[in-house]
Symmetry: C2
DNA sequence: GTCTATAGCAGGATAGAC
DNA sequence: GTCTATCCTGCTATAGAC
C-alpha cells in the first residue's frame, strides 16, 4: 500500500482531488496536476483517458472510500452505547466531520468537493447521491424515527435528516463565513463548541427537548 | 430604466451574472458572455477592463441590489404584525428566499452565486460578508434575542442565526439533493411544505417550543 | 509506462478602423 | 462606443521515441 506514494497513478488521484476541491474543476489544468504529482504532462491521458475521467475517478476511488471511512467512524463511536439516542448519534456525526479519522485538510476537501457537486451537479453527483447520501440519510432517518411521534411519514423524516446534515456540512464548508460572523478561529475549542451547538439545535429542532447527554 | 435592455453594459452584467451563477467563473468565457449579451467581444474589456472586474461589478451592481430587495421583502411581510415572533420572522425569511419578489431563476442564481463564494471565497466574499451577511445576521440576532434566555451571549446568538440561514439556503441551493432524497419536485406545494418544516425545525431548535403561528 | 514534442484550438486581451 | 482583426498565451490531447 506504499503504492500511494510511488505509483504515479495514485499520486495523480491524490493531487487532483486536492486541487479540484480547492479550486474547482475548470480552474485546474492538467499541467498543474501532473506537476504537483511530479509526473509527466501526458500521464493523465495515459492513465485516465482525459481530464474529465480523472475527475470522476477521483470520486470513485477517493471520495467514496473516504465517505465510507467517515461512516465507519460514526459507527465505531456508537459501538459501546447501549442505546443510541438522537443526540449521541448527531454528536457522532458532527464529530466525524469536524474531527474525524483523517487530516484536517482531507476532511475539508471532502466536503468542498461534494459541495461543488451540490451547487452544480455533474455525473459525480449521481454517484454521491446513490452510493452515499441516500443510504446514509435513510439509515439516519431510521435511527431517529423511534424517537419521533408515531406515524411520522417518510418525507418529514427525510426533511429532518437533511436538516441535520445540512447544518453539519454548513459549519464545515462555510468556515470562512462562520469565522467572519463569530470572529473565532477554527481551533479545537471552537469546534467543540460548534458540535455542542449543532447537537442542541438539531435535537431540540427534532422536538426532543434540550438533550445534550452524549459522551 | 429601459436602459436595462438597451445599454450593452447593463446587458453584459445581466448575462454575466446568469452564466457565472450557473457555471462558475472559470467555466464561462468572455466570448460566451458577449455572445449572450449580443454585443462585441471587445465590449467587456472596454466597459470593465477585464473579466475579473466584470465579475466583481456583477456583485456590486446586481447581487447587492438584489440582496436589498430580498431584505425589503422580509420587512414588508412583517410590517402589519403587532409583534414579530421568531416563527413569523423565520417564515418571512424563508418565503423571501423560496418565493420572493423576483423570478425563480433570479432567486436561484442569487443563492448559487453566493454559495460559490462561501465554498471558495474571493474578493467578492468580503463584499457579501461586510455589506449583507454581517448586518443581516446581526439584525436577525437582535430580533430573536428577546425570545431567548436572558443573558444569551453574542456568540451563541450568532450560531443560532447562522443555523437558521444555513437551513434556508441549503433548501435553496441544494435543490437537486433535496429532490433526490424526498423524490419531490420543487413546485408550489412542496415549497410551502419546506417552509413549514424550516419554521418548525428552527423555531424549536431555538428552544421555543413548536411554534407555527405565523401568517 | 514514461517521456518529449507538438498539433490544434480556445482563452483573455489589445490595437486601431470607423 | 462599437466593431474587426489579431496577438499571444495557455489549454487538452495525441503521436511517436525510448
Amino acid at each position: 500500500m506504499a503504492a500511494r506514494e510511488t505509483d504515479p497513478k495514485e499520486r495523480l488521484l491524490d493531487e487532483a482531488e486536492a486541487l479540484f476541491a480547492e479550486n474547482g474543476y475548470h480552474a485546474v489544468s492538467v499541467r498543474e496536476i501532473t506537476a504537483a504529482a511530479g509526473c509527466n504532462l501526458a500521464a493523465i491521458n495515459y492513465h485516465f483517458g482525459n481530464k474529465r475521467n480523472l475527475y470522476l475517478e477521483v470520486f470513485r476511488t477517493r471520495w467514496l472510500a473516504r465517505a465510507r471511512v467517515i461512516q465507519e467512524r460514526v459507527y465505531e463511536t456508537l459501538q459501546n452505547k447501549k442505546e443510541i439516542t438522537p443526540p449521541a448519534l448527531i454528536r457522532a456525526l458532527a464529530e466525524a466531520f469536524l474531527f474525524g479519522p483523517m487530516s484536517e485538510k482531507d476532511r475539508l476537501r471532502h466536503v468542498q468537493l461534494m459541495q461543488r457537486e451540490v451547487i452544480q451537479p455533474t455525473e459525480a453527483f449521481e454517484m454521491v447521491m446513490d452510493e452515499v447520501m441516500k443510504p446514509f440519510l435513510g439509515a439516519l432517518g431510521e435511527r431517529i424515527r423511534p424517537y419521533l411521534p408515531a406515524g411520522t411519514d417518510q418525507e418529514r423524516l427525510m426533511l429532518n435528516a437533511l436538516s441535520i446534515i445540512s447544518l453539519i456540512l454548513y459549519f464545515n464548508f462555510g468556515r470562512e463565513s462562520v469565522k467572519r460572523i463569530t470572529g473565532r478561529a477554527y481551533d479545537q475549542a471552537f469546534r467543540e463548541e460548534l458540535i455542542r451547538h449543532i447537537v442542541r439545535f438539531t435535537t431540540t429542532g427534532l422536538g426532543l427537548g434540550a438533550g445534550e447527554n452524549a459522551s
